[in-house]
Symmetry: none
Subunit: 192 residues, 4 copies
Amino acid sequence: MSKEEKIIQAAIEVFREKGIEKAKVSDIVKAAGIAQGTFYLYFPSRLSVMPAIAKVMVEKIITAIEEGVSTQKPFEQQLEEVVDVGFSITKEYGDLVALIYAGIAQTEHLKEWENIYAPYYAWMDNFLLQAQQQGTIRASIDTSRSSKLIIGLIESAAEQVYLFDDCKDETMKLVKLELLDFLHHALGLRHP
Amino acid sequence: MSKEEKIIQAAIEVFREKGIEKAKVSDIVKAAGIAQGTFYLYFPSRLSVMPAIAKVMVEKIITAIEEGVSTQKPFEQQLEEVVDVGFSITKEYGDLVALIYAGIAQTEHLKEWENIYAPYYAWMDNFLLQAQQQGTIRASIDTSRSSKLIIGLIESAAEQVYLFDDCKDETMKLVKLELLDFLHHALGLRHP
Amino acid sequence: MSKEEKIIQAAIEVFREKGIEKAKVSDIVKAAGIAQGTFYLYFPSRLSVMPAIAKVMVEKIITAIEEGVSTQKPFEQQLEEVVDVGFSITKEYGDLVALIYAGIAQTEHLKEWENIYAPYYAWMDNFLLQAQQQGTIRASIDTSRSSKLIIGLIESAAEQVYLFDDCKDETMKLVKLELLDFLHHALGLRHP
Amino acid sequence: MSKEEKIIQAAIEVFREKGIEKAKVSDIVKAAGIAQGTFYLYFPSRLSVMPAIAKVMVEKIITAIEEGVSTQKPFEQQLEEVVDVGFSITKEYGDLVALIYAGIAQTEHLKEWENIYAPYYAWMDNFLLQAQQQGTIRASIDTSRSSKLIIGLIESAAEQVYLFDDCKDETMKLVKLELLDFLHHALGLRHP
DNA sequence: CATGAATGAGCCTTCATTCAT
DNA sequence: TATGAATGAAGGCTCATTCAT
C-alpha cells in the first residue's frame, strides 16, 4: 500500500472515530505510521483528504451495487436487491457519508457533492432507463431526475433504521417493505 | 428581544455566513451586540447554541407548513402545497439544515436529530392519516414510516435544485412535477 | 454573624478546599450565601481577604496557646504543652498557614508575614523570658530571636508529621520526643 | 544549552521576578527565546515546570553545601560553615524556595516536597551521623529526624534575616550567633 | 522522498470587577 | 446596603503548517 493510500485509509479511520473537527493531522499520521510532515507531501491541507476519501467511498458503493444486483433477474427482484444494497451501504458507510457531506459543506461549494455521487446517480439512471425501455416501469418517468429521488429515498429510509433507530433488525424489515411498496407504486411497476 | 434570542439570531446569521468551523464566538457576540462573556451566561460552549438554532428552525418550518397548506382544499392540491412549502423551506433554510445536521453529527448523538424533526414528521403523519381515512390515498400505507420517507424525498428533490443546481427556476418546475408525479403514484392517489 | 464575617469564614473554607489560584470569588460568595457584588462592598479585591483570614487564624492560635498551656505548672511541662499545642495548630491550620504564606508571597511584601505572626512571637518571647528570669533556662539565650527559632522549629517538626508523613500517630510521638529532647538541650533546661 | 534547559532557566527567572500567578507562559518563552508552542513540547502545562525548577534548585543547594563545607575541618567549624551555606542558600534562593513550595501546594500533593528536599536531608543526616559516631555530638540524637529539624531551623533563622528584615548585615551576624549557640546546645556539642 | 522539531497565530473560555437597579 | 447581570481583558493551549536536516 502506497503512502498516499495509507494516509487515506488512516484518515477514513480517524475521521469516522473522532469526527471532522476533532480529527487532527497528528492522529492521522499516527494511524498511518508516517511522519507529520509526510502528510503534506501528498495533501496540501488537512481537509483536502476529504475528496480522496469520498472517491474511495463511491468506488465502494459502485462495487457493492455491481456485486449485489444481478442484472439477469427480473426487475422486481433487482429493485429489491438495489434496496438491500442501499441499506447495506448506509449501514456500513452512513456515518462516513454524513462526514464527507459535512466536510464538503464546510469547505468547498456544496455542488461538489453532485460530482461525487455522479457515478451512483448514473448507475441508477441506467437501471431505470432499461426497465423503462422494457416497459416494466411507467413511461412517464424522467429517469435522470427520478434516479436522484430514489437514491435520496433509499438513503432516507436506511438512515431511519441505522443512524437513528435502536431496535434495528426488527425495524429494518418493516421499513424495507414499506419502502419497496412505496417504490412499486411510484414507479408504476408492472408485474409481467 | 432578550439577550438569549439576540444570541440565537446572531448565531444563525454567522453560522450561515461562515460555516461551523469558521464561525467564531467573537463574530457571534459582535453580531449580537453583546460582550464576549455574556455569551457564556446563556450557553455553556460555542456549539451549544446549535440545538437552540435547530429549535427555532423547526418552529419556522412548522409555521411555514401551517400557513402554506390550506386544510380546506382537496388533498391533491394540499399535496402540491406541501411540496411547494417543502421547496421553500429548503430554499430558505437548506444550508441551515445541513449546518445543524453537521453540527449535531460533531457533538451529540445523531439520534437527537430525530427529536428535532419530530414535529415535522408528526405533522406529515397526521396529514397522510387523514387522507387515508378519507380513502384518498391507498390503505396499505404505513403513514408513520411513509411520513419520513416523503419528507426525505421532498428534501432530496429540493436539494437537487437549490443546493446543487445553478439554473434554478427552470429546473425547479420540472423537478417539482416529477416529484409530484412520483408521489401521486407512490401514494396511490385517487382523484375523487 | 455579620456579612463580613460570613465572607471571611466562607473564604477560609474555599481557599482550603481549592487552593489560592482555583478559589474563585463566585465560590466564596456562594459559600457565604451572598451576592457576587456584595463581596466588593467589604473587600476591594479577591486576595484582600487574605489578611483578614490571617488575623482570624492567629487569633485562633493565640487562643489555643492560652488555653493549652498552664502557666502554673513547671516550665518543663509547659514546654511540652507548647509543643503539643504547636502540633495541634499545624494539624488543624497547617494547610491554611501555607496558603496564607503563599498568598502573601504572591501579593504584598513578605515582611507582612512578620506582623501577622507577631502575637505568636511575642507570646513565645515572654514565655522564654520568664523562664530565663527564673533561671530555668540558660541566661545566654536571646529570647526575642530564639522565640522565632523555636516557633520555626516546632512548625518544621509538625509539618514533618502532618503535611508529609502518612503513618501519623506513630511518627508523631517519636518526632515530638526528639523535638523536646532537642529543645531541652538547646535551652539548657535545668531540672530544678 | 538545550531547549528544555533554556525553558527551565527562563522560568526560574520569570517566576522569581513576577511571582507564580503573574508569570505568564508568554513571559517565559520570550525570556527563553523560543516560540510559545515550543514550551508545550517540553512541559504539558504552565506549572509543570515547577518540579524541574525544584530539581535544579536542590542541585544548586547540594553543590553549595559540598563546596562550602570542608570535611577536613573539626565539626564545630563545619557546623558554622553549614549555617553559613544555609544562610547563603536562603539569601539566594529563599524566594525561589517559597515559590516552589507554593507552586507545589497549588498543584500536586505536598508530599512531593519531601522528595525534592530528600538529598538535602540525606546530606545533613550523614553529616550528623559521622559527628555522632566520632562522639562529637550527643549519642541520644536521632540523626534522621534531627536533620530535618536542623534544616528547618536554619531556614527559619535565615528567613528572619533575608525575607523579612531590612537591616540585614547587622542582624545577620547576631542571628547566626544565636543560632549557632542554639545548635551547640541542642546537639550537645563537645569541644574536644 | 521522509522526517519531526519548531513555529506562532488565533480562539475559547474564565473570572475579577463594575454598575444600574 | 444589596444584588447579579453584564462586561471585556487576558492567557493557556492547540494544532495546522513549515523547513532544516
